[in-house]
């Protein structure tokens, strides 16, 4: 159960945002999408989530083409956007029920699922609280619970830790990794924070719309003859390397 992206290119008018990007996510793993600001990460997310239409290339999730079977594909996808999309004036339960209704879920089974997801995120006791009264970390957890409510096989998170303190960031990262293990969930975690990535994580490194690396973190370090992913990141995205960047591994 995975995402395959083939020869994906996208332009805003004459300005290229993505150029011939191809990759396949490792199924049931925590995949990191690493790139500096403006690398094309959010554009890639907008294409994966159908907020933008494909211009060139193909996206498949679990063998379903985004062009031909958008509905089937959206059922397989849970998304946490960079900017919060929760309704602050509604309660935790109301936000979750709204999302569930849009995915055709209702009734007693839904209530059980809501309780399960909130319990997993340690938010069950906040069920009737207004989202406005939750702190940033809890809101993010709620967004993850919401994204998992319709039991997708792929979870996309676009810089989910932006604006959170380091401790909350680590805890959220741990939670998502646990989910991968428990549910065989395929995760794509976009970030520009290298400390959120572990050496064995499959990493996609995006820079100026091009894929610079597609390999586990440790393999990228080895291929670039550096000791840390941070150094590899600098090497692959630094201005002095601009002319020599090639896809590694």
């Amino acid at each position: 159960m995975s995402i395959r992206v083939s020869e994906l290119s996208f332009h805003y008018g004459p300005r290229p945002a993505l150029e011939s990007v191809s990759f396949q996510l490792a199924a049931g793993r925590f995949n990191a999408l690493l790139g500096p600001n403006g690398a094309g990460k959010s554009t890639l997310f907008a294409l994966l989530t159908r907020l933008y239409a494909l211009q060139r290339g193909e996206i498949e999730i679990n063998g379903h083409s985004l062009r031909r079977h958008p509905a089937r594909l959206m059922r397989q996808l849970g998304v946490v956007f960079q900017q919060s999309s929760l309704d602050l004036d509604l309660s935790v339960a109301q936000n979750l029920r709204y999302h569930a209704s849009l995915h055709g879920l209702a009734g007693a089974a839904l209530q059980r699922r809501i309780e399960q997801e909130l319990a997993r995120m340690d938010l069950l006791e906040r069920l009737d609280d207004k989202v406005r009264n939750l702190n940033g970390g809890h809101r993010r957890r709620l967004e993850i619970a919401r994204a998992l409510l319709h039991q997708p096989s792929v979870l996309l998170l676009d810089e989910p830790t932006v604006g959170l303190d380091p401790q909350t960031r680590r805890s959220l990262n741990r939670h998502v990794r646990q989910l991968c293990g428990e549910r065989q969930l395929t995760v794509l975690w976009a970030t520009h924070l290298i400390e959120e990535i572990e050496p064995e994580d499959p990493v996609l490194l995006l820079h100026r719309g091009r894929l610079r690396a597609d390999a586990p973190g440790a393999a990228i370090c080895a291929a670039n003859q550096v000791n840390s992913l941070a150094e590899a990141f600098d090497k692959l995205t630094g201005p002095e390397e601009a002319g020599q960047r090639e896809q590694v591994a």
Binding site: F10, Y12, G13, A46, T49, R50, L51, Y52, A53, Q55, P70, A71, R72, M74, R75, L77, V79, F81, Q83, S84, S85, L86, D87, D89, L90, Q94, R97, Y98, H99, A100, S101, L102, H103, G104, L105, A106
Partner: protein, 261 residues
């Protein structure tokens, strides 16, 4: 089929919950037409004489004349404000949750417009209830017969708002929409004065008012409130609703979203 029903129920439920959690917005939306009714109409009552015109069977006060226009004014403000919010939300927030649904986008957008329309009706009926002691006393059954007309008009204005704000980026703030859409639509219509009166003042202004779909929306509501069907007004309002909805949904496509960036 169930998932369509759950989807519609969810969208309507959310709008309703937002509506009851934002009571101040409800009250402020009522203040505007009430000021027109209680202050403006009282002041102009002496200046403007209204002859007997359909659907009224006798001489009427100015308050009675402008009441249907003010009902439509509520729908106009709500429709534009909500649609503008939808466009803003597309990039920023909760609209993304809606667009991530596996249900077809045209269905989701129409549901959203319908939900906004149904919530606006509560404001219109609150306004009509307050207007009754002031002398706006349509027949009791009129409150029922006006309901489908109000829903249609609310849909038309919501779709128009969505169409305008998704295509004209410069109108992304509400002040722009007020100056270039709401005020011209409202003043160049039969909401405040009958069109024959406008014709006495200026022939071209009269034709401009006649070309304004809002005039026909107001007349549809005016006749329905007095248990009469204004067929030309219904045809024009329904036609405009359909056209605006189709164009608005097309304007919300992923292709346009990317091009607009």
């Amino acid at each position: 089929m169930n998932s369509y029903w759950f989807g519609f129920r969810g969208i309507l439920g959310r709008e309703f919950l937002r509506f009851i959690s934002q009571r101040s917005r409800f009250l402020s939306a009522l203040v505007r037409p009430l000021l027109w009714l209680l202050v403006f109409a009282a002041g102009f009552r002496a200046a403007l004489g209204i002859a007997i015109i359909a659907p009224y069977e006798t001489y009427i006060t100015y308050e009675v004349y402008i009441a249907p226009g003010l009902c439509c004014m509520i729908l106009l403000f709500n429709g534009m404000q909500s649609s503008l919010g939808m466009v803003y939300d597309r990039e920023m927030g909760s609209m993304r949750v809606l667009l991530m649904s596996p249900l077809p986008r045209p269905f989701l957008l129409i549901c959203k417009l319908l939900a906004i329309a149904l919530i606006s009706l509560a404001q219109v009926y609150a306004f009509l209830a307050i207007a009754r002691p002031v002398g706006v006393e349509p027949p009791p059954l009129g409150y029922l017969t006006v309901l489908p007309a109000l829903v249609l008009v609310a849909l038309m204005l919501g779709a128009l708002g969505l169409l305008i704000s998704s295509r004209i980026r410069q109108l992304e703030n509400f002040a722009g929409v007020m100056n270039f859409v709401i005020f011209p639509m409202f003043f160049l219509s039969s909401a405040l004065y009958p069109l024959w009166k406008m014709r006495e003042a200026s022939e071209w202004l009269y034709w401009l008012c006649l070309a304004n779909p809002f005039s026909h929306a107001v007349e549809l509501v005016r006749f329905a409130l007095y248990q009469q069907l204004n067929l030309p007004a219904l045809a024009i309002t329904a036609g405009c609703t359909l056209a605006f909805s189709l164009l608005a949904v097309a304007g919300f496509s992923p292709q346009r979203a990317a091009r607009a960036r």
